[in-house]
Symmetry: C2
Subunit: 119 residues, 2 copies
DNA sequence: ATCTCACCTGGAGCCGACTCCAGGTCAAGC
DNA sequence: GCTTGACCTGGAGTCGGCTCCAGGTGAGAT
């Protein structure tokens, strides 16, 4: 049952402490355990959930949708089919993002080639 | 020398009219020609530059950097080597974005598989 | 002629996602 | 025992990028 101080959680997750507090405040993170002095002590579970958050965030999922996903997770096992649906849908968007970036990248490369040709 | 009405420019570029006006206001777009009544008439050149803008925007380049690129373009032919540098640098970031998305997508897919396994 | 509709302007407002601040509390090293 | 520094809170502020609004103009369709 390892616990992590705020500084360690920052280190592990790559989020700032302010961001972690913000996520807790808006309910993206369930209320984090506290020590006697009221300081946060993050659990392994918190960190693993934050790993999911990072993944969703970095693939462009808006906070509002992450909140909905968080509620599914909290609601228990019977929402697993729903969670799969959310993730599959998101996966498709990520796929589309990648395709779009690759397409735009081709344009950029054409432009670079053109510039090279007129140098 | 085809010209485009605002509505046509919207149609062609996929930007809203407000966004086009905003881009002109901040100097991302050079002052657009006007007809006698003061209404904008976009040139082919404007549209092609907007195509570039769309590409850079959709690949995540911040407006501040697009502005710098716009200045290079305005400054004339002698900035072509600099423009190549900007685009190459950006291309690398796009590449990194794609790699990152693909990586995150793997995580999402693992999660989906896991959820399927516990259904 | 009149109406409608696409425009125009300057400036305010909005939204998402943080980020910062003031003022306070504890714990641990010297 | 004191200082330093990591942490706490609620709430305000910031930032990027639009988006909307009020009030007005001019041109073409009925």
């Amino acid at each position: 049952m390892t616990v992590y101080t705020p500084a360690e959680a920052v280190e592990e997750t790559g989020f700032t402490l302010d961001t972690l507090r913000y996520y807790e405040k808006i309910g993206l993170l369930e209320p984090v355990e506290r020590n006697a002095a009221g300081q946060r002590r993050f659990s392994e579970e918190d960190l693993s959930w934050l790993g999911m958050i990072r993944c969703l965030r970095d693939t462009g999922m808006p906070i509002a949708e992450m909140l909905r996903f968080a509620e599914l997770v909290r609601a228990g096992e019977h929402t697993i089919a729903d969670r799969i649906r959310v993730l599959e849908e998101h996966d498709r968007r990520v796929q589309a993002q990648i395709a779009n970036l690759a397409e735009r990248q081709r344009y950029i490369n054409h432009k670079i080639s053109y510039y090279r040709s007129v140098l």
